[in-house]
Symmetry: C2
Subunit: 182 residues, 2 copies
């Protein structure tokens, strides 16, 4: 068990800011991982969603996402930012739109010099639900359970953002454990 | 001819900043339109290209595009920013990457409160070469001719950015003319 304990010591405290980019709603969530107990304790510090007004132009919407994400990142000062990797889309037009939102989200992290991690959707769901093809409700349910929330976080975009943050913490723990054992 | 003259009076002076977004090179160009003579005179104030280092992470590249475009926009203070409309791509992955660059370019314009105009590639080429399916060299040649440059602007991304700016000026003139006549 020594190596396992060493792993938690290496990690000690970590705050992760997860972002779930979307062209209408962008979810975000802040999760802390602490080693006060032997098992790392996950705590939800905040979650929310940036809803983009359809009446605004695309440039105005991108500014809204950037401004709100930047403000949240400055407030929570995470150790890392985690986002979903996207390699597919309904079509090129929607991929381009999603890319625009993703671009300003990555910029917000880079402007504050925060390290960025990306995870495939399958990995995120596996990490939280244990099943890569889990549905939105299953993710919401398991995120609430892992973070000891009184009810599933809503909207689903915020739950997805928390799941991305949890996935990063799990991955960092696994890597740290491997390094300690290796 | 009265209406035509009225059109130039309405337009008087206009500075347009064209941006040609790309995942490796993003071109930009600044064009002034002036009505000192009866025919509006187009003047190239600047053009250039932002080359993204492959050694950098995507987030660092997006920050570079945003920082350099923001600096150029603040320096030239255009009346409008013009970009290419993109509705197609080789695949969703490349559309997403291009979207990320486009997102930070639109954000740079929105942050300075600059109006944004978008034009389809066919319209841009028609406006400059008179033929929507013109090649890169034809665009470079005609941009040099319209702006009285000693040689075709290079790289082609900068020429494309100047073409987008010229397209916006032509469109604004046409609209102004229609309003005056209407």
């Amino acid at each position: 068990m020594t190596s396992t304990v060493a792993c938690w010591v290496t990690l000690s405290f970590m705050r992760v800011f997860g972002i779930d980019c979307g062209t209408e709603i962008t979810g975000f969530g802040v999760v802390d991982s602490d080693d006060q107990s032997r098992m790392p304790r996950l705590t939800c510090r905040a979650f929310g969603a940036i809803r983009l007004a359809k009446s605004k132009t695309m440039a105005q919407r991108l500014k809204q996402v950037y401004d709100e994400l930047s403000a949240a990142l400055e407030l929570w000062r995470p150790d890392a930012v985690a986002v979903e990797e996207v390699f597919y889309s309904v079509n090129a037009k929607s991929a381009l739109k999603l890319g625009q939102v993703r671009g300003v989200a990555l910029l917000a992290a880079a402007t504050l010099g925060l390290p960025l991690a990306e995870y495939a959707p399958l990995k995120i769901k596996s990490s939280v639900v244990g099943y890569g093809l889990a549905g939105k409700e299953q993710v919401q349910f398991m995120v609430a359970r892992l973070l000891e929330l009184p009810e599933p976080p809503s909207p689903p975009d915020a739950a997805d953002a928390l799941a991305i943050a949890i996935c990063h913490i799990h991955t960092a723990q696994t890597l740290s454990l491997q390094e300690t054992r290796g």
